[in-house]
Symmetry: C2
Subunit: 270 residues, 2 copies
């Protein structure tokens, strides 16, 4: 059982930032990654459609006999975690609760900001989770729909990106949040820009890192850690091989992707 893989899925290749955190934290674990690039992005879509897709993504990972599923996509974690939990009999981790716990522990002024896709922010999933942990916290949230296409265009350090960040983050700066949850897999790539816009003294919470830490704890508690001393095997599956996916994927993963397999059936949604 313990040598079984950790399954990770995402709407596309953004979830590779979560895989990156997992590899750093749990280097000897095997990982199966599925990115639904044929239907990406999930962020602007309705909760109902995202729930259908999440069930299909889960079914795909279950075929690989995974010992645990990590929902790397914030949007899915926000509106469809229960669907994944219902489908899978293995432990399931989203990115919302780990990111929330870390943010609540980090804030000193009790003022937390959350940024994410339209659907993630509209779901209020982060705000509700924060309030459940501490009702006295002020929470300011903001959808940043252009951040994902900017990252995919590779405009990480582009002046336009800084301008857009200034506009999006203005309400959060105004409200003097001291801790900011990056509620989308793409946003860790904009850490420097976000930090320079928000100013000193800001704690950035990378939900993917938080989820990797939580996975570590959970596997240890349930005695599911892989005892192997060797680097784990990471398998990548995508439902579409889009233009420049290897180049963009590398940016997220922080290393070469190696072999990526296309899932034929998923691309037509069957």
């Amino acid at each position: 059982m313990n040598a079984q893989s950790i399954g990770v899925f995402d709407s596309g290749i953004g979830g590779l930032t979560v895989v990156r955190s997992l590899i750093e934290r749990l280097p000897n674990e095997n990982i199966v990654y599925f990115g639904d690039t044929a239907r990406v992005p999930y962020g602007p879509k309705s909760a109902q459609t995202i729930r259908e897709y999440a069930a299909q993504d889960t079914d795909f990972l279950l075929k690989y006999d995974v010992k645990m599923i990590i929902v790397a996509c914030n949007t899915v974690s926000a509106v469809a975690l229960d669907v994944v939990q219902k489908h899978a009999k293995v432990p399931v981790l989203g990115v919302i609760l780990p990111g929330t716990s870390m943010a609540v522990a980090a804030t000193r002024k009790k003022r937390v900001g959350v940024i994410g896709t339209l659907t993630t922010i509209a779901s209020n999933a982060y705000t509700n989770a924060i309030r459940q942990l501490d009702k006295s916290l002020a929470v300011v949230s903001r959808a940043c729909p252009l951040f994902v296409p900017l990252v995919e265009e590779g405009w990480i350090d582009h002046p336009v990106t800084a301008m857009i960040a200034k506009e999006y983050l203005f309400p959060l700066k105004l409200e003097k949040v001291d801790t900011l949850i990056l509620g989308c897999t793409h946003y860790p790539l904009l850490k420097n820009t976000i930090r320079s816009v928000m100013g000193d003294g800001l704690t950035l919470i990378d939900s993917g890192e938080a989820a990797a830490a939580e996975a570590d704890t959970l596997l240890t508690e349930r005695v599911l850690r892989n005892p192997s001393k060797h680097a784990g095997n990471v398998q990548f599956f995508l439902s579409d091989m889009p233009h420049k996916f290897a180049e963009i994927g590398e940016r997220f993963l922080g290393r070469k992707l190696g072999k990526v397999r296309k899932v034929e059936a998923m691309s037509s949604g069957k």
Copy 2:
């Protein structure tokens, strides 16, 4: 036969700019529109996946017994028009050839620019079509991946949009194109910005308008025009009802959408 609808499909709601042109040109025609919002955008995806989706979109329209199909999506027109033509026994129009003919007729300096999504530009569909009509023309093309999310964010007159347009359009300005094909359904909304960046004397070719003109000619030639004197009936179908779709749709259509129906089966790709 003549009272049958014209079928129009697109990857999302951008194709409503084509419906807008059709209503202006052929106000008494009935129209059935399908937007694949559950899998939008097609632009960044592979040709193979787009071809699968195009076949499914065509099948959907054929159920409504349409007399003609207009592929509003430039990306589909660029890489999958043959798939639609094979599936449908009715006349099929894409947006590439009508836009190309109009541009070739319009250019005085024989220098044409083309902008579109990554897949449309990578396909060279416009460049090849222009060269087939006139080998002596200089063609400069450029993918503008951020234009679609900027339009969907509603940043039509935002200074950031002008900055991005300046960067994307720089090579076209440098090459002194006098005619520019807007090779994506979203781009007509950025006409003012594009015109102010490119300067005076530029002819902008709206592929949707060109396709509506071509549809007019084709229906007349084949004696398929609807003889009704009343305004046609326009039906809208989407595979997902995303956040703010009515508001965004209105921006594209130039009027209220009215009733929009969700296609259940298409959202899971079956």
